[in-house]
């Protein structure tokens, strides 16, 4: 059973010799740290000497970067290739409305430098890949995973294990979060917990599932706290512990994580000794080339509009959720995808049915289901209501 005594007492995770002093201004800036025995001058000097790499400057990266900068972590690396999008501002509070369309890394660096001009901010405006990960990670003491997809999580994990660096993990979905510290002090790594990723399409992303804006704020702050603890070597880090957080019930739970002796990356006989193709590992490439949805006949929004204008007797089936219908709709008959099998008798199989959802994915599934249920005339609206807004009726809001 994993317990405190099973895991070696954590040593501070930084490698550099701490600098000898703080300037007068730094003493004032960090006074609230210095007057605490748990941090003190020793701890603050360790923070100043520390080098932390933050992968992702989005929902998790926002509080993370800010709290690390505020705490005086001497060198912070930021990795992000994305541009700020309006939909990010619901939760990615590092950015302002004026930053929309700017590279995230630029806006993030600017904001963090403004918060603390005394620290060094390194920027990597690139996607982290197997080709560059080891190079980018090698100069840092601690890596914090603020990414948003499985392939990168496995990449970061494996790179951290190969390089012997702790990986401060946090992840979110809707209103639930997870946090842990992997690859540290003989504790488990991410693959010990999840040896394999879910096949694509089985676990929705934030774009598909939504996320309570503040949730990554909470989980990212937890990641920041864990990172600071690792640096100053105080407290009990989440090594061998999976923290689960449910914002709706406001409950924290904790599960025990064990190091898997047969882990392919960090086990006694590792089979993964170099970085692999993580897109392939996560099946993303497979999804792109052989999506089952491509067997369903499609209709484009323009074609649909033309046929409706002509007076064709089409039945529009909307398979989104009721709350989406409230955002916008094209007058379709609403049966959420999850209810379709139970409510299929509401549909007339002699009619020509056009199924749509937000982007075309769910409706492709619905169309396939209907065809297998004996409906002869089913078409999937390519690109969903988003494409309808783009191509036919811009007054329909996109979301």
């Amino acid at each position: 059973m994993a317990s405190k005594t099973d895991i070696a007492a954590p040593k501070p995770a930084t490698t550099a010799q701490p600098p000898l002093s703080l300037s007068k201004e730094e003493v004032l800036r960090y006074s609230r740290h210095l007057i605490m025995p748990e941090v003190g001058m020793d701890g603050q000097l360790k923070l100043k000497a520390a080098k932390v790499l933050c992968i992702g400057t989005g929902g998790l990266g926002a509080p993370l970067g800010q709290y690390l900068a505020a705490a005086g972590v001497g060198r912070i690396g930021l990795v992000d290739f994305d541009k700020v999008d309006l939909t990010n501002l619901q939760r990615q509070i590092l950015f302002s409305t004026n930053d929309v369309n700017r590279p995230k890394i630029q806006a993030a660096a600017e904001r963090l430098c403004g918060l603390n001009p005394d620290i060094q901010i390194d920027t990597f405006e690139t996607m982290l890949t197997s080709a560059n990960a080891l190079d980018i990670l090698k100069d840092y003491d601690i890596v914090v995973d603020g990414t948003d997809n499985f392939a990168t999580r496995y990449l970061v994990n494996d790179a951290c294990v190969l390089l012997g660096k702790p990986n401060v993990y946090g992840s979110i979905f809707r209103f639930e979060g997870q946090a842990s510290v992997f690859g540290y002090s003989n504790g488990p790594c991410y693959r010990c917990l999840y040896p394999e990723p879910p096949p694509p399409g089985l676990v929705p992303s934030c774009a598909e599932g939504g996320v309570l804006g503040v949730l990554p704020g909470i989980v990212g702050s937890i990641q920041a706290a864990e990172t600071l603890k690792l640096i100053i070597g105080k407290g009990e880090p989440l090594v061998g512990r999976l923290l689960l957080f449910d914002a709706l019930s406001m409950k924290f739970r904790e599960l025990k994580l064990r190091k898997n002796p047969d882990c392919p990356v960090c086990g006694a006989r590792p089979t993964v000794t170099k970085l692999i193709d993580y897109s392939e590992f996560c099946g993303v490439r497979g999804e792109e080339t052989s999506a089952p949805a491509s067997t369903v006949p499609e209709i484009t929004p323009r074609e649909l509009k033309a046929r409706l204008d002509r007076g064709d007797n089409l039945f529009i089936l909307d398979v989104r959720e009721p709350h989406e219908y409230q955002i916008c709709n094209i007058g379709g008959y609403l049966i959420p995808l999850g209810d379709l099998s139970k409510r299929v008798n509401e549909l007339d199989s002699s009619r020509e049915i056009v199924a749509h959802c937000r982007s075309g994915k769910r409706s492709a599934e619905a169309s396939e289901f209907l065809r297998q249920s004996g409906f002869r005339k089913v078409l999937n609206l390519k690109g969903g209501i988003l494409a309808w807004s783009d191509e036919v009726d811009p007054s329909v809001p996109k979301y």
Partner: protein
Amino acid sequence: MAVKVIIPTPLRSYAGKQASVELQAATVAEALSALTAKFGDLKKHLYSDDGCLRSFVNVYVNDEDIRYLQKDQTRLNEGDTVSIVPSIAGGSRR
């Protein structure tokens, strides 16, 4: 044994939107079987075609991973909590 099975957010829509379900079961296997009997749509998310629990789904009894207990033969006690914990990654559509 009366046990509580905690349904993680990504799977709640397949379990009648419930966050937890009370069941009678003597082992983890029985608890999951009762769960998928009640909520058929959950089955494909928990089990692969060959009937094995999917590797990205972890199951805990109280705070212990069943992989380090007796796997799905782990016996349950009255009032135990069975947690289903899938991997989540947030964010991207990619």
